[in-house]
């Protein structure tokens, strides 16, 4: 009788404890450990759902010195999932796994998501993908064809053409920030592509990131031996491939591209932005938010709310430790094009001359600080943000710290930075008009 009673009670107690544990609040803080001398492990624990996200992150990307030598490296990173018979893809489907390959300025990432119960089989799949050397040659030929078609489709799209023109004007031709300036072509045979992938995989300073329903012990087991041993590459290969920017006085102040059948004129007013570590960067964060970063920004007020010239007017810049593009963008019906261009310039002139108000500063800081909550809803969000900073050599929380620095700036400090940055001589106006 005692046994009969004890077992269900124990079960129910366990059940209750498990329920409480699983009802715990959101993602934890990143836990970091050394997987091996070239690999860092990161775990963001979250036991609300039986899900696991895995990230293999290599510390080179499209702006690094090494990969831009051949578009093949980036292509190889994705093609490793494309075996000719589709066996790897079919296995991913059978395991209900999300598999993706991506690259940005500073990293290439292999991301996998799965249910916890499938993790062991998914890890076998991950190893098999990383070991695959049979890339599909016909897929390479197909992509080279579709790349050309997509490029030609882009020549008919005003946003694409403005972006292409801006990149061409701001950066030198051999600077990866300018690319692509022509359709990508995957060069090399399958063996060379596979070798490129192998080299990429063996770079030092790589990360295995894990988020979700795993304990630290389990995560350490997952990360161990997942990637092949790293090779000691010359450090130069990991350095930046960026070139000195094209100075403002060496580029035109105006440029117009023509496209058929446009019913609007599209504008992009561009200059170089500040790198994340620049002393004025926190001030720029606040200034940009006031100028064009919200629904009632200066630009949106002048071009949308007053006169209905556009549906959208905004400003923004890429957040990177390197110099990126700062852009103001909008569009309007052809008949209003001159008015809108005048207004853009007038808004900017006033902004530079008078700066922002204390009320605008406080609202912008409130928004930027409050917004951080939105980045902590899922464990993958916390992990990806951590990894983003890590591959850029930034301290954990560097972006949040920049917001804190922005919040600590006085109005005078921000307005002084605005006067330095929003110099009309630094900007180029690019328009897309009907041919």
């Amino acid at each position: 009788m005692r046994t009969l009673f004890t077992i269900p009670v124990a079960g129910l107690l366990l059940a209750t404890v498990a329920t409480l544990a699983h009802a715990a609040s959101g993602p934890g803080e990143p836990q970091i450990w050394v997987v091996d001398s070239s690999t860092t492990g990161v775990l963001v624990e979250d036991h609300r759902a039986p899900l696991v996200e895995l990230r293999l992150v290599l510390p080179v990307g499209g702006w690094s010195a090494w990969p831009p030598r051949s578009y093949a490296v980036g292509a190889a990173w994705d093609l490793q999932f494309r075996d000719p018979r589709g066996v790897l893809r079919a296995r991913a489907d059978r395991l209900a796994a999300d598999v993706s390959f991506s690259g940005d300025a500073h990293s290439f990432t292999f991301a996998v998501g799965c249910r916890r119960e499938d993790l062991d089989s998914v890890l076998v799949l991950v190893r098999d993908i990383l070991a695959n050397r049979a890339f599909d040659a016909r897929e390479i030929a197909r992509r080279n064809r579709t790349n050309v078609i997509e490029w030609k489709a882009g020549q008919r799209n005003p946003d694409y053409m403005l972006s292409l023109t801006a990149r061409r004007l701001l950066w030198r031709e051999n600077d990866p920030r300018a690319w692509p300036l022509k359709p990508w072509r995957i060069g090399g045979d399958v063996a060379r592509l596979a070798a490129a992938r192998d080299s990429l995989l063996r770079l030092p300073r790589r990360c295995v990131g894990i988020a979700g329903d795993l304990t630290r012990t389990e995560a350490e087991r997952v990360a161990a031996g997942l990637m092949p041993p790293a090779t000691n590459y010359p450090p130069a290969l990991l350095e930046s491939g960026l070139k000195p920017v094209r100075p403002a006085d060496l580029r035109p102040r105006d440029e117009t591209v023509s496209l058929p059948r446009l019913t609007q004129v599209y504008f992009k007013y561009v200059r170089h932005a500040l790198p994340l570590g620049a002393s004025d960067w926190p001030a720029l964060l606040v200034a940009n938010h006031v100028l064009g970063g919200n629904f009632y920004s200066r630009l949106s007020s002048a071009l949308r709310h007053e006169g209905g010239y556009t549906y959208s007017a905004s400003s923004g810049f890429g957040v990177e430790p390197d110099t990126t593009m700062y852009e103001i963008g909008t569009y309007t019906r052809t008949a209003s094009a001159d008015t809108v261009e005048r207004r853009i310039r007038a808004v900017l002139a006033t902004f530079r001359e008078r700066g922002i108000t204390e009320e605008e500063r406080a609202a912008a800081v409130g928004f930027l600080q409050g917004r951080r909550t939105f980045q902590r809803q899922s464990p993958a969000q916390v992990l990806d943000r951590f990894l983003w900073e890590r591959v850029r050599g930034l301290a954990p929380g560097a972006r949040d710290a920049a917001v804190d620095r922005a919040a600590a700036l006085s109005l005078d400090e921000i307005n002084a930075a605005i006067r330095r940055f929003y110099d009309p001589a630094a900007f180029t106006m690019i328009r897309a008009r009907v041919k």
Binding site: A24, Q264, S312, Y331, A363, G366, P379
Partner: protein, 471 residues
């Protein structure tokens, strides 16, 4: 070997109890994902007719609020295309006591976001905000439900704004132009045939009188559903909702249902030309029933099996195995009354229309063998969907949208919580039957899109291309 009866009985009893214990544990471990209705969920119809759903969950860092009006672009009359979307803009125009910026400023100051969207079937107002700022959101939503300021000056300005939005979204990219032309060509006079942004002419013709009439008719409690998901106290919030929204007059109507596209008289073929790069694009469009149909879960599984995988069977057959196209995609326009399920192919311009449709038809016929439908593929797909639902549970906004959609699209708010069980119950036979009924035995609309200009060299020597390149 035969066991003594008593010992057998005791062992069986222990096994039973152990099984019950494990079941209890399993239930608890999976409770969050599988429970039909999460603990604390509240669904209530206020005396004035407004529906309210509250899902308290302390693990969310933000509160998601949705006010869902059961009226969308498909409810517009001919000659008023774009009106419902225009009205959505007017809802941000302020009230008798609040400036037009008040709603935005409140969200903005604490990092929140507010927005809205107009779809064919509904118009939804979205607020996502840290808990400290949520208190005033309900007051402001109720205020604009009853005291919205509607004047000619704001109407004229918003007409100009939505016309620029229309131009940007629909007129200046060839791929968008041709997709909208295809939708119109297939559905013709059906209410789903025109994009919710409407037409320039109809937007220009909107009068203030019509705006006021629409507001009085549809933006009232009887046609609204309030959804709140996040770290809130459910009972306390319900009291607030009753006080704030319960005081509003019982008014408003729900527009009549639009006809389902399945069964709508569509033409057998639609031919279009557009300023495209040198590739020919063909669609085979099949109509699917509404999500409230009895076989809707089987259809959801079918669509995912055909369109959602890495080894997508349509692409694998047409592009990878048979090399009959440069690309092969499967798309679904999922709407409240059903919508098209479309097989797409793209080929180089040397291929003829007849060949392209023949190749697509053969692939669809090959799909009819249902090699893609096995116990293993079905089980994997169910796990995949379950994972998707569980992942949505991290985000209060996604859960609020799911609750709103299930209530309006299927008439049962509870379906937002038993999706895993329903999908889990779908059988191979049901999926096969859905394929046969809606694809295998149905006649598709054939949509063909040619580039306006084909380069001279391709026209002259295109027949040589297959010797060198794929498709």
């Amino acid at each position: 070997m035969i066991q003594p009866r008593q010992a057998r009985s005791a062992r069986a009893g222990r096994r039973l109890l152990l099984a019950l214990s494990l079941l209890g544990l399993a239930w608890a471990l999976l409770g969050t994902a599988y429970a039909a209705t999460p603990p604390g969920f509240i669904h209530e119809v206020l005396p004035n007719g407004m529906e309210v759903s509250i899902l308290p969950d302390p693990s969310h860092p933000i509160v998601a609020t949705r006010v869902w009006y059961d009226v969308g672009a498909a409810n517009e009359d001919p000659g008023t295309r774009g009106f419902v979307h225009l009205f959505e803009h007017l809802m941000f125009g302020g009230t008798a006591t609040r400036d037009k910026r008040a709603y935005w400023d409140h969200h903005h100051a604490c990092g929140g976001s507010s927005n809205a969207y107009t779809d064919w079937d509904e118009t939804v107002y979205q607020s996502d905000i840290p808990p400290a700022g949520h208190g005033q959101v309900l007051e402001m939503e109720a205020d604009r439900m009853i005291h919205l300021r509607l004047d000619q000056e704001n109407l004229d300005n918003e007409k100009r704004i939505v016309t620029e939005e229309l131009r940007m979204r629909t007129e200046n990219d060839p791929m968008t132009r041709v997709q909208l032309a295809a939708l119109k060509g297939v559905l013709r006079e059906h209410p789903y045939a025109v994009s919710p942004v409407g037409t320039r002419e109809d937007i220009a013709a909107v009068s203030l009188e019509r705006v006021r009439d629409f507001y009085a008719r549809y933006y009232k409690p009887r046609n609204a559903h309030l959804i709140v998901v996040g770290p809130v106290d459910g009972d306390s919030l319900l009291s607030d909702v009753r006080r704030i929204f319960g005081a509003l007059p019982a008014a408003g109507v729900t527009p009549p249902d639009v006809p389902p596209p399945l069964g709508w008289p569509c033409p057998p073929e639609v031919d279009l030309k557009e300023d495209l790069p040198p590739a020919k694009i063909a669609f085979l469009a099949y109509m699917l029933p509404p999500p409230s149909a009895p076989d809707a879960d089987a259809i959801a599984v079918l669509c995912e099996l055909l369109a959602g995988g890495y080894a997508n069977p349509y692409h694998e057959d047409l592009v990878v195995r048979r090399r009959k196209a440069l690309f092969g995609e499967v798309m679904r326009l999922d709407l409240r009354r059903g919508g098209p399920f479309v097989f797409v192919s793209g080929v180089l311009p040397n291929r003829s229309k007849a060949d392209q449709f023949r190749d697509m038809g053969e692939t669809v016929k090959n799909l009819g063998r249902k090699d893609w439908l096995t116990d293993e593929s079905l089980a994997a797909l169910k796990r995949k969907l379950m994972r998707r639902y569980e992942n949505q549970n991290y985000f209060a906004a996604d859960r609020a949208e799911a609750i709103g959609a299930e209530r309006w699209w299927t008439g049962d708010v509870g379906r937002a919580f038993d999706r895993a069980e329903r999908i889990g119950a779908v059988t191979r036979g049901q999926v096969a039957a859905a394929f046969d009924r809606y694809i295998g035995e149905a006649s598709p609309v054939r949509i063909y899109i040619e580039p306006e200009r084909i380069p001279l060299l391709v026209r002259m020597f295109g027949w040589l291309l297959p010797l060198f390149v794929h498709a």
